[in-house]
């Protein structure tokens, strides 16, 4: 356990790892018949690889990397639509930097920028609104992306734009919600999952109760976790103990940041600005019911899909994923990244083919970055 030295508190890490080993044994899980725990959040995936938690924990425990990286689940069609908007005359297209390299059918936003589109990386939707104030003759579009952690910020920004009567600002809304894809995974007959580590920062906004259905209807444990390595280890232990004891509960390991009922101001702003779409497309997972948000009628003037007549406003559409790409299988835990024929060959962090290779929160990029050459060799 020499890696444990890297922890803020190596002694605590060692104790937690010993307890995990013991409970995995009590469950009777082995390398051949492991217990499967999904960490939903991409930040957790990154931390697991960064600290080698998958290697420090016993072989009877297997991590399945969930769909909680908004960049990774962005379908090609949406990237294409971003490029379409960005290439319009007079548009300033603003986006979080994370989305710049996600491949589209024709090009990524990075390539569109190189080709002359006015695309700017912003830190906050408030930066985009400020650009609209400073450039009244231009149309400023913000690429709203992310789960419940970033969704309120776009809502607050739209409310502010409405209060100021700004007319040259709109949002291309791609905000998605965490519970529906989990439900979709639980409904999958091939599903192997025994329990979940839940995303702490999403619960900071929505609270812990949106996960009640996991325990009540599907009888699986979920523990809402912080993203420090010790938080993760402790949460994994809590999930394992529930499995051992035959319990299925929603527990909150991250109570120091996550209030039971979330953040009321953010919940109110989201309810004011958005409504669920009938369905939304996820890369690798397909259309999932009520998993995406769209802008309500009252804020229609700020909806880029309506303003430019594209996306879901233009009718149903679907774009195939690139050939040989196994993102979907990786995302549902059916295969490991190294089992994808493109891994480390046609697909690297420098030249990503699939979205899981774009962000350090994507399982493939995490494998590549921390497994490095070893992972590529293993694939060969």
């Amino acid at each position: 356990m020499k890696f444990a030295e890297e922890f803020r508190n190596p002694e605590a890490a060692r104790k937690l790892l010993a307890a995990i080993e013991r409970v995995v044994g009590e469950i009777g899980a082995t390398a051949e018949k492991p217990v499967h725990i999904m960490e939903i959040c991409g930040g957790h995936t990154h931390a697991i690889f960064r600290y080698g938690l998958d290697k420090l924990t016993p072989p009877g425990l297997e991590f399945i990397h969930g769909p909680g990286c908004p960049v990774c689940v962005l379908p090609m069609s949406r990237v294409d639509e971003c490029v379409q908007i960005a290439e319009r005359e007079g548009v300033i297209f603003t986006t979080f930097g994370d989305a710049m390299r996600v491949p589209g059918t024709r090009k990524s936003l990075m390539q569109a920028k190189a080709d002359g589109a006015d695309i700017r990386m912003v830190y906050s939707p408030l930066d985009a609104l400020e650009l609209a104030r400073r450039n009244p003759e231009r149309e400023v579009v913000f690429f709203g992306l992310g789960f419940e952690t970033t969704t309120p910020s776009t809502a607050f920004t739209l409310q502010q734009a409405a209060r100021e009567g700004i007319t040259n600002f709109s949002v291309f809304c791609n905000h998605i919600t965490v519970p529906p894809p989990i439900k979709a995974l639980l409904d999958d007959p091939h599903m192997l999952l025994d329990g979940f580590v839940g995303p702490g920062h999403v619960s900071m906004v929505i609270g812990v109760h949106p996960y009640d259905f996991i325990a009540e209807e599907y009888h699986k444990p979920i523990v809402v976790a912080g993203f420090e390595p010790l938080d993760l280890l402790q949460s994994v232990l809590m999930v394992l103990e529930q499995i051992r004891d035959g319990r299925a509960e929603v527990e909150n390991q991250y109570a120091r940041v996550v209030p039971e009922h979330g953040n009321p101001a953010s919940i109110a702003a989201m309810a004011d600005v958005y409504e669920p779409r009938p369905s939304f497309e996820w890369r690798g997972l397909g259309e999932i019911d009520a998993s995406g948000l769209r802008i309500r009628e009252a804020y229609r003037a700020f909806d880029a899909e309506e303003k430019f007549g594209i996306g879901y406003a233009a009718g149903p559409r679907h774009v195939e994923e690139p050939e040989g790409c196994e993102c979907g299988a990786v995302m549902t835990g059916r295969i490991k990244p190294v089992a994808c024929p493109q891994f480390g060959k046609g697909c690297t962090p420098e030249m990503p083919l699939g979205a899981l290779m774009v962000s350090s929160e994507g399982a493939c990029a995490a494998y590549y970055q921390y497994g490095g050459a070893r992972a590529v060799e293993a694939a060969e």
């Binding site: 803020r8 990154h46 979080f96 700017r120 408030l126 607050f156 920062h201 953040n263």
Partner: protein, 96 residues
């Protein structure tokens, strides 16, 4: 973009728009405090908050802030966030 970063609120800059100056790893950045504003805004001064894409999303204590920052540094996320903040400033000035 998903994890947020701890910052200390040092000054209220615009009451009407609920904006405050926060200090994040020695860098100053204006943030919106609507999510954590439950009383008079002046009460937020010196408090620590987790800041997500320009919004103070939750108040945390100083120890939690330090531990979170360390975890973010371990993941390389703190640097990425500071770079994103700088890129955001630059985007405002950029000419097409």
């Amino acid at each position: 973009m998903c994890l947020g970063i701890p910052g200390q609120i040092v000054e209220i800059t615009d009451e009407a728009r609920m904006m405050a100056m926060a200090e994040v790893s020695g860098v100053r950045r204006e943030v919106n405090v609507i999510p954590v504003a439950t009383g008079p805004l002046a009460g937020l001064i010196d408090k620590w908050a987790l800041i997500h894409v320009g919004f103070a999303m939750s108040l945390i204590d100083e120890d939690e802030a330090a531990a979170t920052l360390e975890a973010l540094e371990g993941l390389g996320e703190a640097q990425e966030t500071l770079e994103a903040m700088a890129a955001g400033e630059a985007a405002l000035e950029e000419q097409p």
